[in-house]
Amino acid sequence: MNRVTLRIDGTPLQVDAGTSVAAAVAYVRSGPRRSCSGQPRAPFCGMGVCFECRVRIDGVAQQRACLAVVREGMEVVTDA
């Protein structure tokens, strides 16, 4: 299977092509996102409804990681 290299919070990571950003984030120790009162949160609904998985992708904030597929060279920031 093809592999794709991206960076999550600055850490390079290689995953299978087609993997979602939400799934890729689970491979790294950084994050998770903090809620408005500072609680740790992780992907919850898996289908683009709950927005718990939101991350910054290539400079664009508030992207649902479960709807985004990894791309070569992608820069993901988990708690921005």
Binding site: T19, A24, P40, G46, M47, F51
Partner: protein, 431 residues
């Protein structure tokens, strides 16, 4: 001005119902657009699996659609008015005009609150299945699947295939009720075969019927759960992941924005349609889960019916109506067998968060009887999910129904909103 495209038939939702509708409409030589916010077609039940691909029926339908239909995946509907949807795709926005609109917007999971449900490691049951298919590493993880309904079995089977160590399937419905339903399955041979196949895939997985996960524990992530049996006896099970969902509820936000009449569906709502899948708005059809949870088969049949009717050939749909009704009857029997026990609505403690976006606990919502008042005072429902999660929770808990929706249907970019006020009628200020 935004780019404007026009489709003779526009379908929203690329699950089985939407794919069926789009494929049939294309056979009439129509220009057909098929919109979905997911990156690939298939919807939830036919979601592509990074490791295993999609089921054969899904691959066939998707290949057929790809040949005759304009696939607009990764596109989010942010606003709608008569004859036009505004879509955001990648960094762009455009308007999709249409003569006929077929809503196949599907369902989402009913996710109910309990102490610890916001911990990383806790997700929906279908949610965890979707994440595993997206490539979430679950191999070797200790996983518990809980909640209610046959989706738990499908989710568990997927997780096992991906190498998870399944500690159990926790079904809230009493064992006797589940068994009675299973004994009646002979009347639905295709369903019985499917159930047997799932049983085989799940051989050896402990079953906790009549049980409920009442709490999840952990500091920064899930470490274990508290399981309660029908007699109230509790035990702790250590685990890494918990997928918990209590069934499905229709996605009706777009239909509501278009002015389609809704009707009650348990504590939630569904789009009201006639036998030909016509909504109360001329030229707008609804199929599948949006019209009430019915499953894959009824969604597919309804997609075919709606497309024939939308293309002016209702007589070609006639023969399918009875099959559709039969599929719907199975769904009704299923809903009855897995009806929620009152205790699953009482799991949240006063300090359990209800609105996960704005971190509003249950106690803060005491005394409110409508969504608007609660929102103004507590910010409940004002976060990024726009009340999709907490609104369903509060309706299910018998507090108050979710407040009326307004555009944008999903959080949108400023540029999209600016263009919206330019060419659309102003959405105005609504309560």
């Amino acid at each position: 001005m935004l780019e404007r495209r026009h489709y003779e038939v526009l379908v929203v939702g690329a699950g089985p119902g939407g794919l069926a509708a789009a494929c049939i409409a294309a056979t009439y030589g129509k220009r057909v657009g098929l919109v979905d916010m997911q990156p690939l077609p298939g919807g939830q039940v036919w979601r592509h699996d990074v490791a295993y691909g999609a089921p054969r029926a899904a691959r066939r339908a998707i290949a057929r659609a790809a040949a005759g239909v304009e696939l607009l995946t990764g596109a989010q509907v942010v606003d709608a008015e008569r004859g036009t949807l505004r879509l955001e795709r990648g960094g762009d926005a455009f308007d999709a005009g249409h003569d006929a609109l077929i809503l196949a917007t599907g369902a989402r999971e009913l996710l109910l609150p309990f102490p610890g449900w916001t911990l990383p490691g806790v997700s929906g049951a279908g949610g965890l299945q979707a994440l595993a298919k997206q490539g979430l590493p679950v191999a070797g993880k200790r996983v518990l699947v809980a909640g209610s309904g046959p989706l738990l079995l499908a989710a568990a089977a997927t997780l096992r295939k991906h190498g998870a160590q399944l500690l159990g399937i926790v079904e809230q419905a009493p064992r006797a009720q589940v068994m009675r339903f299973a004994r009646g399955l002979w009347r639905w041979p295709a369903r019985a075969a499917q159930a047997l196949q799932l049983q085989a895939q799940l051989a050896g997985v402990p079953r906790f019927d009549g049980h409920c996960v009442v709490a999840a524990h952990g500091r920064d992530a899930l470490e274990g759960v508290e399981l309660e049996d029908a007699d109230g006896l509790r035990r702790r099970i250590d685990c890494d992941l918990l997928g918990v969902g209590f069934g499905l509820l229709p996605n009706v936000e777009l239909a509501a924005l278009l002015g389609c009449a809704l009707e009650p569906h348990g504590a939630h709502q569904r789009v009201r349609v006639d036998a030909w899948q016509r909504s109360s708005v001329d030229g707008v059809y609804a199929v599948g889960e949006a019209c009430g949870i019915g499953g894959l088969r009824s969604a597919w049949l309804e997609g075919v019916i709606a497309a024939h009717v939308a293309c002016g050939q209702p007589q070609r749909a006639q023969a399918l109506l009875r099959r559709r009704d039969r599929a719907r009857r199975f769904a009704a029997a299923l809903a009855q067998a897995f009806a929620l026990q009152p205790r699953v609505r009482r799991l949240a403690e006063p300090d359990t968060l209800i609105c996960r976006c704005e971190d509003v606990p249950l106690a803060a919502l005491d005394g409110y009887t409508d969504a608007r008042a609660a929102k103004l005072a507590t910010r409940c429902g004002m976060g990024a999910c726009q009340g999709r999660i907490c609104g369903a929770v509060l309706a299910e808990l018998g507090r108050f129904p979710r407040g009326g929706g307004r555009p944008p249907l999903f959080p949108a970019r400023l540029a999209t909103l600016a263009a919206l006020s330019e060419s659309f009628e102003s959405p105005g200020v609504q309560p």
